[in-house]
Symmetry: C2
Subunit: 204 residues, 2 copies
């Protein structure tokens, strides 16, 4: 009846199924029965591949982390110049959310916030890593004279990640009725125009 597959393939299928269902019915509503049906397995088969539901979530988080970091790497290697690098990083993050729309919800799921501290650590580390890359890119922009030097790179990084998160929240709550990446990058340019202003360049 059912196709027998290698454990590796099955795990990947299950993780993909969780991500799809987390978006459709919510991360916390998600039951192992739902996952099994989505993948085309019996419910106990899930536990053949993951010892607990928490372990399954951890695998999902690691999959997300992998894809996010890959997106950042690609953005940074392809971009030329400090402004392009910043824009590519922001764009990569927006694209990742657009392709994995369950991401914001997972950030606030009880699984992450309450039940699964390990999951929380993974995402905390991810956000921190993104922040670090942004700070580095912003320092580059400041050195190139593309961003005024009288604001701390850390604060700028926070403003930019906030921008991404804010757009993502509006996108999620607004039934995803506008193109996330496009709107996000438009606002990014607005913010960058503010940061590029010449006043204060020769501070101190």
């Amino acid at each position: 009846m059912s196709n027998r597959q290698s454990a590796e393939e099955r795990k990947a299928q299950i993780v993909a199924g969780v991500l799809r269902l987390a978006d459709e019915i919510g991360p916390d509503r998600l039951s192992t029965t739902d996952v099994a049906r989505a993948v085309g397995l019996s419910q106990p088969a899930i536990f053949r591949h993951f010892p607990t539901k928490g372990a399954l979530w951890l695998a999902v988080a690691e999959d997300i982390a992998l894809r996010l970091r890959a997106g950042w790497d690609e953005a940074e290697t392809e971009a030329t110049g400090p402004h392009a690098r910043l824009k590519a990083l922001i764009g990569a993050q927006l694209a990742a959310i657009s392709e994995t729309p369950a991401l914001p919800s997972i950030l606030f799921s009880r699984e992450l916030q309450v039940d699964n501290p390990a999951l929380r650590d993974v995402f905390r580390g991810l956000l921190g890593a993104f922040q670090d890359r942004l700070v580095a890119a912003i320092r580059g922009s400041q050195a190139a004279g593309d961003v005024r030097r009288d604001v701390s790179p850390e604060d700028v990084a926070v403003l930019l990640t906030s921008l991404v998160q804010g757009v993502a929240i509006r996108w999620t709550l607004g039934a995803r009725s506008f193109p996330l990446v496009q709107e996000g990058l438009r606002l990014f340019e607005v913010q960058m125009a503010l940061l590029r202003s010449t006043e204060g360049m020769s501070h101190e």
Copy 2:
């Protein structure tokens, strides 16, 4: 054994209990049994006051809406001058999140995102109303020459709400290890300094 109380008081107690528990164990993890125990009632007593759990959530949303709007009103009446008005609005929002820390989680709960469209409408309306107040305040700031006129007030409002949400996310994920209002207002001033830059004042 248990204190008999008026329905009005009990409803308020139950709503307060939901808000507290939503923060402690997550909005979706929350069961009517938990709520009952928190208030000191039997579990069926909850359904004496609210016909369904969804109705209970709606009452919670209306309580939140009431308090948020009251905070905005107070902020706007007490503030003098366009800058103070903007700052007071942002501060009120930060304070509301700080006092009701379950707020961000509720925004992404399955109850709101999936199960309870009415709840979703309430919060969507709330966010829209806040945005409108911000836009009005920003127009005032632009008229007073406190904010440059070559950026659209709508975009500025989005940037500022994003700032609030971004700080709130960092605060939530970071185990609330920094003072939310203080850090939020600090970043607000950073952003306002960028928006105050003189370049482009005599546009058009």
